[in-house]
């Protein structure tokens, strides 16, 4: 019995240790400069993460703008038409496989189909990679949630003479919306922290990107760059960046779980 509780303590300990170290090493470096300045050349003190925060916002925003509607459409397709459509089985299988692939391979894929033909790393390709990761997350959870909506709601809508698309969007989707919204936020929190695919797509940039077709920094990527550098000044910034990233992601998670999303279990696969 004591063994079991020890195991449980060991599972929770790393989270507390990581949060503690983040606060201790990173909190003192978070000031106005951190949010307003870009990477300084090696040797100069100071500098910040403004370009990285903006890059993450742009890439995640673009990925969500493409991935959420696409994912929702797939989810609706599978939940509402899945029984009769021939494509449903293969699509469900494809989404499952996409969800299980290591994220670095998504980077390799996008590198091959976008970066090589364009002959340069770009913010756009990074956003596409994040979109590929977000798509199955949104599609699979929204399918599950839509399926939970009782059949009689649909029948009631149809009986009122509403067209089917209207029933789906304004009755079924609307009833499931709190959960779907939570799933979308969790998916966004997840891609906001993705690093591996961005190494091969948006590549990183010491300053603000000038356009969608330019290489771009992002918060996780910049943390990586700072962390593996040999400079203490950059390590300081890496901790600060990690603190900001973790607290943003955890806040998103905590809010969605404690409010709307708490009643549906998150699938670990």
């Amino acid at each position: 019995m004591i063994l079991l509780v020890t195991g449980c303590a060991l599972a929770v300990l790393p989270l507390l240790a990581i949060l503690m170290h983040l606060l201790r090493e990173g909190a003192s470096s978070i000031d106005l400069n951190f949010f307003t300045q870009v990477q300084k050349p090696v040797g100069e003190l100071g500098g910040g993460m403004a370009h990285a925060i903006l890059g993450t916002a742009a890439q995640v925003g673009l990925a969500a703008g493409l991935g959420v509607p696409l994912g929702l459409a797939c989810g609706i397709y599978l939940a509402e038409y899945g029984g009769r459509e021939r494509l449903a089985g293969p699509v469900r299988f494809a989404l499952e496989l996409l969800a299980s692939t290591p994220s670095i391979l998504v980077g390799v894929f996008v590198y091959g189909v976008i970066v090589v033909p364009m002959k340069k790393f770009s913010l756009f390709s990074g956003a596409l990679a994040l979109m590929v990761i977000l798509l199955p997350l949104v599609a699979r959870t929204s399918e599950e949630l839509l399926r939970l909506i009782p059949q009689h709601l649909r029948e009631a809508g149809l009986a009122l003479g509403l067209p089917r698309w209207k029933v789906i969007l304004s009755v079924v989707l609307r009833s499931a919306w709190p959960g779907v919204w939570a799933a979308i936020l969790l998916g966004i929190a997840r891609i906001a922290g993705e690093t591996a695919p961005l190494v091969l797509t948006s590549f990183g940039n010491p300053t603000f990107p000038r356009g969608l077709d330019q290489p771009s920094a992002s918060l996780p990527l910049q943390i990586y760059t700072y962390a593996i550098s040999p400079f203490d000044e950059w390590h300081r910034l890496a901790w600060a960046g990690a603190l900001v990233l973790v607290f943003t992601v955890l806040a998103l998670n905590a809010i969605t779980r404690l409010t709307g999303g708490s009643n549906e279990r998150r699938r670990a696969d």
């Binding site: 019995m1 063994l3 509780v5 020890t6 195991g7 449980c8 060991l10 599972a11 929770v12 790393p14 989270l15 990581i18 170290h21 983040l22 696409l70 459409a73 797939c74 397709y77 038409y81 494509l87 699509v91 494809a94 989404l95 499952e96 996409l98 299980s100 692939t101 290591p102 994220s103 670095i104 391979l105 894929f109 590198y111 091959g112 189909v113 590929v132 798509l135 199955p136 599609a139 089917r164 698309w165 929190a189 922290g193 993705e194 690093t195 591996a196 590549f203 996780p220 943390i223 990586y224 962390a227 593996i228 390590h235 990690a242 990233l245 973790v246 998670n253 998150r266 670990a268 696969d269």
Partner: protein, 298 residues
């Protein structure tokens, strides 16, 4: 009803796009690895030398590093996760269990690069200064614990992976335990079993096949983890008996070399490593799913 027809066409298009993405994914990965596979043949998988400057490409060391680091992670994470899941379902009152499972879920939400950062500056120094010297003093006759304690290396990677897959494993194990009918537990208790015996006889024995599925899914997760591993494993493609030595994995080398590949063949060889990883993780995922389904039916 015309609007309905347009609506379903839009949905079909979206579904088609996701099919297309997956198909393009596999085709692209296969296509880009062809040149390297053609050049090296089967020796690509058996060779252990990796020297892009000499156009020598062998995946052996990466496969070895991937297997050893992920198995080490399982070795650490499985007992911890099973214990945690048992605490959550069998022992703790609902309130405490709620808090613990919330914390474990939060651990799952931390981005990989942050684990890497913590691994580089906290975990590795800790292993180097206390854990590894202790192991090498007592157990240096075991090859696993030979050599200088470097901190950065296979052991760091295994431990950080273990931390990262613990939430996945815990959640899966918990689901398996929850699916076991209460009747089983009550039957064991009615026969006079103690609490521990109940857990052993009624819960763990019945959960066996489900747990195997969970472990395999967790393994698949560990195989593909990239950023945290590349930051703490030392990035040296070598096969060393010692867990203290640096190593390299399939996923980590992609993050490390892909964007800076020196030649087309080098790029293709890296793609072939990626394709290998893709096949392995797909097979593992499908295998685990099959296993879980079979467990549920029996």
């Amino acid at each position: 009803m015309k609007a309905d027809r347009i609506f379903i066409q839009i949905l079909r298009a979206a579904a088609g796009v996701s099919l297309l993405i997956l198909a393009a994914f596999f085709i692209q990965m296969f296509w880009s690895s062809l040149p390297a596979l053609r050049a090296a043949g089967m020796s690509f998988f058996s060779g252990t030398d990796w020297d892009p400057n000499q156009d020598v490409f062998g995946a052996g060391a990466f496969i070895y590093g991937t297997l050893v680091s992920s198995l080490l992670a399982l070795l650490i994470a499985v007992p911890i996760s099973v214990a945690t899941a048992l605490c959550l379902t069998e022992i703790f009152p609902a309130k405490i269990a709620g808090v613990i499972s919330f914390l474990v879920e939060m651990l799952a939400a931390i981005p990989s690069v942050v684990f890497g950062l913590w691994g580089v500056f906290v975990l590795s120094p800790l292993l180097r200064s206390s854990v590894q010297p202790f192991l090498s003093e007592r157990f240096s006759w075991i090859p696993l614990f030979s050599g200088p304690p470097l901190g950065i290396g296979m052991m760091s990677a295994g431990v950080i992976l273990a931390i990262m897959i613990t939430p996945t494993l815990t959640a899966l194990a918990r689901e398996v335990f929850l699916s076991i009918p209460t009747l089983q537990r009550e039957a064991a208790q009615a026969l006079g079993a103690t609490r521990w015996e109940t857990i052993w006889i009624a819960v763990l024995k019945n959960a066996k096949s489900g747990l195997w599925g969970a472990i395999i899914l967790g393994w698949g997760r560990a195989l593909g983890e990239t950023m945290a591993v590349t930051m703490v494993i030392g990035n040296r493609p070598q096969i060393s008996a010692s867990l203290f030595a640096p190593a390299q994995t399939l996923a980590a080398v992609l993050a490390n070399e892909y964007a800076e590949a020196t030649s087309d063949l080098h790029l293709s060889a890296l793609s072939a490593l990626g394709f290998t990883l893709l096949l392995v993780s797909t097979i593992i995922h499908l295998g685990a799913k099959f296993w879980i389904r079979r467990g549920r039916e029996s």
